[in-house]
Symmetry: C2
């Protein structure tokens, strides 16, 4: 039987979160998509998130303003260059400057706040521990620890038996598997945005970690990458 409850789905506007939303919708959840305006330089992703939320069928899409860009510390928000053409070895070996300090912790916390208000017990996040950029807050042990904490943080944990579940359906998928899953659910990847450093017109750079993982994923899935890259 399909789920009929509510779920909050973190939606960045990228490939992974679009697929995650499609998975949650397929499960039968009434999905409340949540994006963040945190001063990211790749702001095209917010426009992408809105399109995806409409197209994939979220009940509501909330863009929460949050000033974590003021904190600095990342190439995605501060004036630090986005690294290009890193080798696979480099990507596996170190956490890049595109890492935003504690970002998934902050985003999941806000999702928890909304879930509590909505009475939703499920929070979906498109993190991935296989083809990823080496961020600490994409690891399974982090997700598990967050879930444990969340179940002590809420009103329901005191007054009732409601349970928060952090759902990370892509955790053990390769990028190619994510794309195949999304295609099977009719996700239109041409409206998703992955690039960390797009052109002023919103074209993907093709060279940052995020573009490279995306290209590799489509290649390995044997599918055409619908992304508009600068260099083409």
């Amino acid at each position: 039987m399909a789920e009929t409850g509510k779920a909050v789905v973190l939606l960045s506007g990228g490939l992974d979160s679009a697929t995650t939303l499609a998975i949650a919708v397929e499960k039968g959840f009434n999905c409340y998509a949540m994006s963040f305006d945190y001063g990211q330089r790749h702001r095209f992703e917010l426009a992408a998130a809105k399109k995806i939320a409409d197209r994939v069928g979220a009940i509501k899409h909330l863009v929460l303003p949050i000033g974590i860009g003021d904190i600095g510390g990342s190439a995605l928000t501060a004036d630090i260059a986005v690294p290009k053409e890193r080798s696979d070895t480099d990507m596996a070996a170190s956490i890049p400057v595109t890492y935003v300090p504690a970002r998934n912790t902050v985003f999941l916390s806000c999702a928890l706040a909304w879930a509590e208000t909505l009475g939703a017990e499920d929070i979906y996040i498109g993190v991935n521990a296989v083809d990823y950029s080496g961020y600490p807050d994409c690891r399974p042990e982090f997700i598990k620890a967050f879930e444990h904490m969340a179940n002590l943080a809420t009103k329901a944990s005191v007054e009732g038996d409601a349970k928060i579940r952090i759902q990370a359906p892509l955790l053990y998928f390769t990028k190619a598997e994510i794309i195949k899953k999304g295609i099977s659910l009719n996700v239109d990847y041409s409206i998703t945005h992955s690039c960390y450093d797009p052109s002023p017109e919103g074209l993907a750079c093709g060279q940052c970690d995020s573009c490279r993982l995306r290209k590799k994923g489509f290649a390995e899935a044997g599918l055409v990458d619908p992304t508009s890259y600068i260099e083409e």
Copy 2:
């Protein structure tokens, strides 16, 4: 030997967080005070936080804008009346409508982001499990679970041996003990703001849970309450 490291201190502008900041300063930390502009109706606390940060000696005071007011669900942000003159039994028995969903989780997450950027290992929060309003995210087990999660969330947890400590020095203090401690550290409580529902001029209502706990604390400590209440 006094601490010489950095600490992020959550500073609401109320009595508890002012005392917490004074404790962290006394320990020798270089304190980075953090407040949130989240659409709270008792915005006088932000002005109070600024004064306290200056007076108690924070290195920096950051007010982070965050749209959790958009999420609703609380009398502190939404159009729900703040309850007045609740009995002690009522306060002990149920979580009031002034509870902001997952607020401490969200605030601690943002503090974690700043701590990571600053290279701080200590995060101070003035939560209290004795004279409190029954909020789930003020309980010791919540704080412990957050700390565990935080130590899996950060770059340092992957690359080094840095350890995040969530410091909650007031956890087992009564309100009277908090006030006595603060007075011993020369905290000027006349500049702190606790009221959930102040008058347009910033006078405390004297009747909400927060005012009642504050009054009771000063009475039990045998000290004069310097707060300006509406009814006086």
